[in-house]
């Protein structure tokens, strides 16, 4: 909790900085753990219900632990007309998870994003922060290689 305390300190324990505070907590833990949110609620004197409502309203926040690798598929309009839905379906099928979920072995999390603003090179898949443009269905195997 010391790490969390440092985040609070950086934002001067101010209630209105709760969104950046949550962003930093997520950066530390890769998701928003319940105990940390309870702790934040006590220390910042913000009702837990309010923190919960923020964490569920904004799509960046995840209340569940995320996998080792994060696969994000851009679902923007330009990517859509170039076939991102088929790519998403194929990832869903191969990993047997829906967007927002993590595989049982905690290896992969699958997420979608509305638009990354790289529309010219769509469809785009981001793998652990690396942008892959002009993504093709057959690239999926390559990405998931090293896994049965």
């Amino acid at each position: 909790m010391k790490r969390v305390e440092n985040i609070f300190l950086r934002y001067k324990y101010q209630k209105d900085n709760i969104i950046p505070i949550l962003q930093n907590i997520q950066k530390q833990f890769n998701f928003l753990p319940t105990e940390v949110l309870k702790y934040a609620s006590q220390r910042l004197k913000i009702p837990l219900s309010k923190i919960y409502s923020l964490a569920t309203f904004y799509t960046t926040f995840s209340l569940k632990p995320r996998g080792k690798h994060l696969i994000t598929i851009c679902m923007g309009t330009a990517c859509h007309v170039r076939g991102s839905t088929a790519i998403l379906n194929e990832f869903e099928r191969k990993l047997s998870i829906k967007p927002g979920a993590t595989t049982k072995d905690m290896n992969y999390s699958l997420e979608t994003v509305n638009c990354l603003g790289c529309c010219a090179i769509g469809p785009i898949v981001v793998y652990d922060g690396k942008y892959i443009g002009e993504f093709k269905l057959k690239d999926i195997g390559r990405i998931l290689k090293g896994r049965a």
């Binding site: 709760i18 969104i19 799509t59 509305n114 529309c119 090179i121 057959k138």
Partner: protein, 603 residues
Amino acid sequence: MKPVLIISAGTCGLARGAQALIKTAKDYRRKQRLHREFDIKITGCHGLCEAEPNILVHFNGKFIFYQKLKPENVKDIIEKTILKGTVIKEFLWFDPKTKKKYEKIDDIPFYQKQLRILLDHNVLIEPKYIKDYMKFGGYSALDKVLKKHRPLDVINIIKKSGLRGRGGAGFLTGKKWEISRKAKGVEKYVICNADEGDPGAYMDRSLLEGNPHSVLEGMIIGAYAIGANKGIIYVRNEYPLAVENLGRALEQAYRKGFLGMDILKSKFNFDIDIVRGAGAFVCGEETALLASIEGEVGRPRSRPPYPAEKGLWNRPTNINNVETWANVPQIVINGANWFSQIGTKGSKGTKIFSLVGKINNTGLVEVPMGITLREIIYDIGGGIPAGKKFKAVQTGGPSGGCIPHSLLDLPIDYEGLTQAGSMMGSGGMIVMDEDTCMVDIARYFLDFTLHESCGKCPSCRLGTKHMFQILDRITEGKGREGDIEFLENIGKNVELTSLCGLGQTAANPVLTTIRYFRDEYLAHIKEKRCPALVCKSLISYMIDPELCGGCTVCAKNCPSDAISGKPKDVYKIDQKKCIKCGICLTVCPPKFKAVKKVSPPVK
């Protein structure tokens, strides 16, 4: 002057491998000790994203444009073009139709009809260095304003220029500033709305990445005019590079004394903070954005009071978007008359559009208002790839609509687009060809607004859901008689009874596709057929026995073992096993092209 190697390294450039080009260029220059021979500049996006990763070589007063490069090409460019002055033909950009090659960037048709007032600097300046921006006149507008103009003069200049908000609604910027100026309050705020959420629009990202100081300078001038001492840039969380470049630009501006206390000894104080969004589309709406900065859930509230009177913490707040702010220094330097001569009667200046989708030259284009869609799509964009037919262009994101072929000669300005049932929005322009299903597009946008609706107004929360369900049903082949009329009815009601722009415009994609592409809806509903061969439930994959070469590739790649046959013989798809993933179509070798889609599906 030393030759300069200019590497385009915005997010798209980096996604296409610009980082490797930068590394190769730097390593080679160091190893060969060529520091005296040429400079390397790492800039933001050059606009023609299709050609990424691209390099511009600036020598003898001209800019040579090389496209789609690999790291090993960099050495050639340095040795041949930079050291010897010869142009390498094979790296030049060429017209996909005529195959004609172009040497200089200005000659490329993509750039010719553009008027790049804001984007031009992306090519010239390295966003990392404030002195680059200053070398091309940066911060001279601020200097001029602080030394020569009173705040009211600045407002009058902006009013006279006719600049309208580039974020979507098109409110007169000068007028907005005037209201904020007159509003009573000790502390006032200016905000830069950089929550560019419209899918398909990325001009703000490009400006923030490639020329962040232009936005800061605009904000400082605006704050001076309004009398604000505090500024906030609310930037999308999905733009990490923009946040990084902005942060660095802020530090530099403070160090140079363009921000902070007593700016340029004028006794004017101004601070800017960056606030990162958290992934909610509705926060692009100004009152939702304010709520988000205050640490609340981003739900819009009713207006009036407008933020100009009661905004952040109930204090007068002036909100403009990135592109609007970036226009301000240009207007101050070149004058209101210069600006108001560009464009149409009601819409002045230029507008940046992101030209994406099924188009040859994808990229960012900056054009004078009043240009026609045809000029943008065919002259600048180079038409539709692979000989396909143009079907529609979607403007304005989820709030906009689809404009059909018959309206291609429509001059683009705020009013023209609204009359066509669409809107300017932030300037996304997604081109669709005959392979795009308009019902599917309407369904796609409703899926978007349905998830992004904040849930405050029942008509938006339930109306978008209901429209989505009907559209979903139609794409699944379960459309019923009367669905179209029902959609129109719900759409109009959502439009009339929602509080904010998201709800008021949510039905536009549905209403415009019905208005211009009713036939396609009818084909789905009555004939259970998807003319564009997109809707999964309404198509089947088939292997043409005449064309099949028996190469086995499709069968090997089929994830559901639905394809059977013997090598060198004709293969067949078992429709019961087929999951319609489309992999067979993508892997079938181009020499056979045997896999086909058909609609209605085979039983």
